[in-house]
């Protein structure tokens, strides 16, 4: 099966500071892939490069076989990749419903995710649809952010640290939505610091350390020790 | 091994310094060979250069874009006129009053304008200039809306004019022009030298830091507010002095002329933009280009101004560092170097 998303030797950074040193990964259609790693390992940089927020060479990222590296974010969205950014980044001037609607601005295809469908996924949002988005609790804001990304009916959903700053019970609530998202047909890449949660939902896992992939495989095939070593590096 | 030192001087800078000294010496002697028209042209160039250097200090180094410096030109000129007409001072001495008046105006101006940022700061400076113009136009003793001239007694008896007339064998009017020219030369040299010296102090370094990243600068203890005040007041004072000097030479003033946006802001901005913002060499180059354009094309009126505006826009869009920026990038030349470098001893790398 041809991968939906493929990166080859992906190198990216911030000005003179390089954060990624040649990342090779692949995501198959409909798959859920988890990317784990410590703070500063480059996980968010990786998602940003894929989403078009950070520049990279055209051939380093391929989506459905086409080189898309370096294209601006708005072009990437229209091809079918949507991002739930780190820290949610909801629009303070927009209500909950307006935030969801703006997600549909980049809608490029028909698909299961309409406003109603998103409210079905996260019923609490329907009650708070007219509130300013930033007035909601952290967990609810995360739901809005995810719903907003879904509204463009992406083939690939990138989720950057959706559990950040949330209580465990809230995290579980949010991850409960993941199977329904998979049913919709989207492939999902989740970047997580919560390893347990990541291993539970992922078909495959990549571990990043200091800008390089140190481990990859299906969760079942990876031992605790291997993950530990890949996450933190070999003991000095 | 020698301890590392921070140095600023470069070889090109040293050569340029010597060349500048030679130029100034030549400039001083010029009236003995040059005609009155040349002296007047040079006066114009030197005073515009002064205005440009101060605007550049504000905007290019300080990040404060003002489109209201004409307020200080005007108030400086009017204060000088007031000193002559109302207090009976010698016009040359009254130039200092111009600087003082500008300083006095600058304090409340800065206080109001600093409440705003960016483009709104810019327009606020314009409003202040307008308010000053309108207020001054109410000053009946100095001609109100139509303006006035320096009384003949004052200009005839001006300091040194008689001596200069004798020295060069010229009549009073030409001697006045020579005096004005020398003062303008002194002012331009003092301005350029003074700004350069300022930038080499730690205030200059702090200024660059604030311009690049205010928050980061503040986090290392730079008092951004105090710096802005310092730069604004210095620029106001200098602009006021220049304004007073300009009108000593013109000897006739009116609110619309003294507070003209075109003459004292548009031309100045053009000079700095064309020459190169944020460098000391820039305004020097810019004023030379401007002087040539002015000499060749000023007669074309609106077309000329349109062309200037267009050149300014295109330069800002496609060569934002101006002519000097292009030259400097090509050759790596810095005639007034302000960059600090770490000099680690005898094995300093070659070149600039």
């Amino acid at each position: 099966m041809t991968p939906l998303l493929e990166t080859r030797g992906l190198t990216a950074g911030y000005g003179d500071f390089r954060a990624l040193f040649g990342i090779d990964l692949a995501v198959l259609p409909g798959e859920t892939v988890a990317i784990i790693g410590a703070n500063g390992a480059g996980k968010t940089t990786l998602l940003r490069a894929i989403a078009g927020v950070l520049p990279c060479a055209p051939d380093q990222v391929r989506f459905r076989g086409d080189p898309v590296g370096g294209l601006p974010a708005e072009a990437i969205v229209s091809r079918g990749i949507a991002m739930v950014p780190e820290g949610r980044r909801l629009f303070p001037s927009l209500s909950v419903e307006e935030n969801l609607l703006i997600g549909a601005h980049g809608r490029r295809a028909q698909g299961p995710w309409t406003l109603d469908a998103v409210y079905g996924l996260f019923p609490v949002l329907r009650e708070r649809r007219a509130s300013p988005a930033t007035a909601l609790s952290g967990g609810q804001q995360q739901m809005v952010a995810i719903g907003r990304a879904l509204m463009s009916n992406p083939a690939l959903l990138l989720c950057d640290e959706i559990s950040l700053g949330l209580a465990p019970v809230v995290i579980r609530d949010i991850y409960r939505a993941l199977p329904r998202i998979r049913e919709g047909g989207a492939a999902v890449v989740i970047v997580e610091q919560d390893i347990g949660q990541a291993l539970q939902v992922a078909d495959r896992v990549y571990c990043l350390m200091e800008g390089r992939i140190t481990l990859t495989g299906a969760p079942a095939a990876l031992s605790r020790e291997a993950i530990h070593a890949a996450y933190f590096g070999e003991a000095a | 091994m020698e301890a590392a030192r921070v140095t600023v001087a470069t070889r090109a800078g040293r050569i340029a310094g010597l060349a500048a000294l030679a130029l100034v010496a030549a400039g001083l002697a010029l009236p003995s060979v040059a005609g009155r028209a040349v002296i007047q042209d040079l006066f114009f160039i030197l005073t515009m250069l002064t205005l440009a250097q101060f605007w550049n200090l504000l905007a290019g180094f300080g990040g404060l874009v003002s489109v209201g410096q004409q307020a200080f030109v005007g108030i400086g000129a009017y204060a000088m006129f007031a000193g002559v007409i109302l207090l009976g001072w010698d016009p040359v001495a009254a130039i200092l009053l111009g600087g003082l008046a500008a300083l006095v105006l600058a304090v409340p101006s800065a206080w109001f304008a600093f409440r705003l940022q960016g483009a709104y700061f810019a327009i606020a400076t314009w409003v202040i200039a307008e308010v000053t113009r309108l207020a001054v136009a109410q000053w009946k003793a100095l001609g109100g809306g139509t303006g006035t001239s320096l009384p003949r007694e004052a200009t005839a008896d001006m300091l040194l004019v008689a001596a200069i007339g004798d020295l060069f064998g010229v009549r009073d009017a030409a001697a006045r022009d020579i005096l004005a020219y020398w003062l303008a030369l002194a002012l331009a040299v003092a301005t350029t030298g003074g700004i350069y010296a300022l930038l080499r102090t730690r205030h200059g370094l702090a200024l660059a830091a604030v311009r690049d990243n205010t928050e980061a600068a503040k986090s290392v203890g730079v008092d951004a507010v105090r710096l802005k005040w310092l730069v604004y007041l210095i620029a106001a004072f200098g602009t006021g002095i220049a304004g007073a000097l300009i009108y000593v030479q013109k000897a006739r003033i009116s609110p619309d002329a003294a507070f003209s946006v075109t003459d004292w802001t548009a031309y100045v901005i053009f000079i700095v933009v064309i020459g190169g913002i944020g460098t000391i060499e820039g305004p020097i180059l810019g004023v030379l280009v401007f002087a040539v354009l002015q000499a060749l094309f000023a007669d074309y009126g609106s077309w000329y101004l349109m062309a200037l505006g267009l050149i300014g826009v295109l330069t800002m869009l496609f060569a934002p560092r101006g002519l000097w920026g292009l030259i400097s990038r090509r050759t790596g030349l810095h005639l007034f170097p302000v960059r600090r470098r770490l000099d680690t001893g005898p094995t300093t790398p070659r070149g600039d």
Partner: protein, 287 residues
């Protein structure tokens, strides 16, 4: 009754200033850009309307209707191909480029139309007045004020009830995330400026019918517009109307005391507000 009359005149004048300011407010709110050529664009639009009136014999309102899409297109192109290039972290380029534009525009108009004062002929409208009991008001100022209100209502509608307005607000909040939603900033900014130019056209219509204009009066209009925006508070169109009214009332009150003090009075009112409330009277919560 002089004071009531002065007050009413001032309020209605405020409508004109609010029209000057609304376009400025719109563009600044969305892309943090202040166009120093804004006033000159108003004057240019006035000349355009004048040309349509004199060459095609159109009634001024009709001429404005024809001029509006032309100005929209001009603004769209200007933003898309010139001003978009200046947007970024550095404050110098947009200021200096728009200043240069102002110089170019003023002199182009001087060249094309000479420095003569013009007026857009409004026929009976120029002197018609309405008797409202204690005061009588000119129909034209009343119409101007009413138009300002309508423009603000329409702009607010666009901002808060349309997809375009959503895009405007999102772009203003967070450009990077807006692009992640598929919003193309180049087009959004161009549309915003185009829209502002339509408002500018309406402002020009009333400016030209009300009083004489010539190529050099642009900067003063920019200053009034800017003062109204600052007094009102950035981000609030109704605040801009309030700001315009305050300037208008200050000016007419000043003129009533001494005609030479009219403009100065307006500036002083602005400085006083700036003194007491640097963020304006109705600032938006987040900026």
């Amino acid at each position: 009754m002089i004071w009531l009359d002065t007050l009413v005149q001032g309020v209605l004048l405020g409508g004109l200033y609010a029209l000057f300011a609304a376009g400025l407010s719109l563009v600044f709110g969305i892309m943090r850009l202040v166009n120093l050529a804004h006033g000159d664009l108003i004057v240019a639009a006035a000349f355009l309307i004048l040309v349509l009136v004199t060459w095609l014999g159109l009634n001024p309102f009709l001429a404005a209707l024809v001029a509006a899409p032309v100005m929209f297109a001009a603004g769209w192109v200007l933003q898309r191909h010139v001003l978009n290039r200046t947007l970024g972290p550095d404050i110098l380029p947009p200021l200096l480029v728009t200043f240069g534009l102002s110089v170019v525009l003023q002199n182009a108009m001087l060249q094309g139309f000479s420095a003569d004062s013009r007026r857009i002929p409004a026929g009976a409208l120029e002197t018609a007045s309405l008797d409202l009991g204690p005061v009588s008001v000119g129909v034209l100022p009343l119409l101007t004020f009413a138009s300002a209100v309508v423009v603000i209502v329409v702009l607010n509608h666009v901002f808060y009830r349309t997809a375009l307005g959503r895009a405007f607000r999102a772009t203003s909040d967070d450009l990077t995330t807006a692009r992640l939603m598929g919003i193309r900033p180049a087009g959004v900014f161009a549309t915003a400026t185009g829209l502002a130019m339509v408002v500018v056209t309406i402002a020009a219509l009333y400016l030209g019918m009300r009083a004489n204009f010539d190529p050099s009066i642009g900067p003063a209009r920019l200053i009034y517009a800017f003062e109204a925006v600052i007094i009102g508070g950035l981000g609030s169109l109704w605040g801009t109307l309030a700001g315009g009214i305050i300037i208008g009332v200050a000016q007419t009150a000043g003129a009533a005391v001494n005609p030479e003090w009219q403009i100065l009075a307006g500036h002083l009112a602005f400085l006083i507000v700036l003194l007491l409330r640097p963020r304006g009277l109705f600032p938006r919560a987040f900026d």
